[in-house]
Symmetry: C2
Subunit: 230 residues, 2 copies
Amino acid sequence: MLDSVRRPTLLFDPLFKLNSRSKNGPARATPPDTTLTWRRGASPAARRKEIFRSLGLVLRERGLASLTMQDIADRLGMTKGSLYYYFKDKQDLLYQCHLACMSVSLDALARTKGSRRPPAARLRAVLTQHIRAITDEVYGAVMLTDLESLAPPQRKRYVAMRDRFEKGVRALIREGVRRGEFKPVDARLAGFAILGAINWIPKWYHPGGELSSEAIAESFVDFLVAALEP
Amino acid sequence: MLDSVRRPTLLFDPLFKLNSRSKNGPARATPPDTTLTWRRGASPAARRKEIFRSLGLVLRERGLASLTMQDIADRLGMTKGSLYYYFKDKQDLLYQCHLACMSVSLDALARTKGSRRPPAARLRAVLTQHIRAITDEVYGAVMLTDLESLAPPQRKRYVAMRDRFEKGVRALIREGVRRGEFKPVDARLAGFAILGAINWIPKWYHPGGELSSEAIAESFVDFLVAALEP
DNA sequence: CCTACCGATCGGTAGG
DNA sequence: CCTACCGATCGGTAGG
């Protein structure tokens, strides 16, 4: 929030951009106010991540129906064509973004594998980090995207990852049930309810609003794990 | 499921449709197998509802990113232009569909107003009907759509409806807290968690699958209300 | 990374 | 409700 970040558009010729845009109608109204870091010296990996963030911002502001390559590029002050230097095509961009998001949650899950703490504590840790992954990275909003936009082979790979995460959560629930820490719930349905409540967060969460992501994570985890306790 | 429904496409000349489609590339692959009722004698209201169902089916199968007027029409065996006889434009269609879906849940809420039953019972009734509204009407999937696709005045009207529903749910939670039936939770966050879990259902629910909508509704309501109990 | 461009598709309309 | 059509936009590419 206090980063000294400037709109990168100014690194280029603004007039030129306006002309190239106005060919197909008036230029986009009101420039974005959310900060995006885009430095010339940045590594390709860092740039990719900024593109993910731009994707997430457009998604939140204009919705999936108008998530265009043009809008994603505009936000970063680059041209649409340049995006294809970093990603093969739109499906690839979406896929990589999904991967980046899910891998954070999968890491959280992996970290609990070796733990000897009780299932409830492990579940709490995983859910907390899953929530933080969604709220703290703008591109957590990709979770709301429909997987149908992905190319079939990539969709398959992503769904496999997501299933691994969901199964991990269910396993924690089942273990808690087995140990008597949790009520004898249907792990599958309980998992759907818990993860659905969390995945829905980007629909109403506004960074910088009155509800901090920490407060949300704590409240949600308390609430959702309470539903499991006897 | 046992309805004697036939694909309405057959009422017209299939060859003609194929030609008109192939102008812009190959015709759509694999016709839909989900039944849609489309009778010539039906009332405009009934036809509108069928269009909603077609919208919901396309949404579930191809995702929001490819929810086109053409696809919605194809499923019903009518031409794209004909949709504009029933709805002003795409935004209007989406708006009306949102209204149709939300009004069911609002009705459920209104029905509890006069009730003298305890808050927990009233909340259970509202949530159960909200779930059923989403699962039993195919077009419950519109809940996943982003509101940015709606025209601003219509969006405002819909959001007002949605807020009324959310506030009603929160009021029930608060009443339960006040009476000591529920734990002292933050009604706003608890409401987000509960409704998020429910609104996410279309993401994984498959009509005709092993989980019936009744079973889901019962499990979910048990689980979510348990999270509120002391 | 930008320029200049194309093909395809999509929402929408006029006229019947 | 269909036909025939248009303007705009969108994803993507060649060449630098």
